[in-house]
Subunit: 139 residues, 4 copies
């Protein structure tokens, strides 16, 4: 099991739709920030640095599955608990639980890769083997 | 089987991240627009109108599952093909295939509800039975 | 002169564009949050509450002028210092300085109104006289 | 005077806030797309290409001034009319009028630069002299 990191978010007025509740793509914005925060808290350098050392330019998604349990609205403080329950050869599973106090708002499970560039194709990427240094940092 | 509606999107510079590819929450922005476009094309009025007639204020998500197949970048034209493969008592499945020409970029399957407000709780919602008028319009 | 409130923001990977710097509409997202934070810190209730008491549904923009001085990128911590240097009969000026440590990143000056709904037109708004209670709270 | 290019936008449900009107940072998202569309329509290659030829990685903002005249809501079709009324040595003025039919919704005037990278500083940029090829294409 990996470390677990908590990222906190305040829901803003502009994050909500005409129904007065969070417009759901914003949850994915926060989850992506929580994914990055996980690596930062574990000591992984920025993707600017890792591009030079390990060729890693980021952790794009392969698959994502989310379940929405309760609505949230502006003024709410959300805590996103993030972990990596599974490492595979060239991908990993990242899991999120978004809480408002004791109440589960939504949960999400993703498959992501560590991506490197394909030579000569600036917008084409490929999955790299998990860098052992990163895996070790994430405990 | 429902009608199938196509919603087109141009990927903009600002939709892309430092890796030069679409930042994934933007796919959910486009999918949400495609969901709404589906109903508009089928003749369903705006949620402003349906709130008055059937109490429907929108179609929030219960569950969403996406698979990312190819990256996209700015300048790309994407076609999002949307259908409703399944109606349940108080929810429905909406399915999307995002294509760049003949190439599948990503696909997504959601469970959504038709939401009404709970009395006296402006930001709390509940699932309404599928309005038969809407189901009929969606063919 | 009004109170001055500081709102802090972390720049995320997804806030940056293919040039690796903050995509500028995100500054306006943060400024809008800073505007709301100003009122929250001064003790003004949510717009859900003020709609019932004073008919205020939000503070839409009339005019905004911004100057961009330095770029910012992901990993940066920004502090947004917000004040209201001028109150008019039916509008007010709100000013922002976005800093990274001692370095000015951008600054912005807006004219906003307290908006109420026009009767019978749900998406049409009008400028209300400044509610004296709000002005007093903002010192 | 430059060419004038029109970029069209449909306002989506998720572009609107709890007051039911467009949340203003979305106007800047559309304006940034209109800015890029202007160059595309004039025949300027993508910034991926211009980085190789002229060192141009994009057109970041120096200054922006906007005036909001009417609200807009989802379902609206907006036309953004874009021109470059003034070229300076190392910057240019880009102007936008956002219309819904005959009605002016908002207008914006910006100062932008053609940015190149500073050597060895991946996220630091500098203003390049206006590339004469680009100026010629924009007529």
């Amino acid at each position: 099991m990996s470390k677990q990191i908590t990222h906190t978010v305040r829901v803003e007025f502009g994050d909500c739709d005409p129904a007065g509740i969070v417009w759901f793509p914003n949850f994915f914005r926060w989850i992506d920030a929580a994914s990055r925060r996980f690596f930062v808290q574990c000591g992984v350098p920025s993707w600017r640095e890792t591009e030079k050392t390990w060729g890693v330019i980021g952790t794009p998604l392969v698959d994502t599955h989310s379940r929405f349990v309760c609505t949230a609205t502006y003024g709410d403080a959300l805590a996103i608990h993030t972990s990596i329950p599974e490492w595979r050869a060239k991908s990993f599973v990242q899991r999120y639980r978004v809480m408002r106090g004791e109440q589960l708002i939504m949960e999400c499970e993703e498959v992501r890769i560590f991506a490197g560039r394909r030579e000569g194709e600036p917008t084409s990427i490929r999955a790299l083997p998990i860098p052992p240094e990163i895996r070790k940092l994430c405990g």
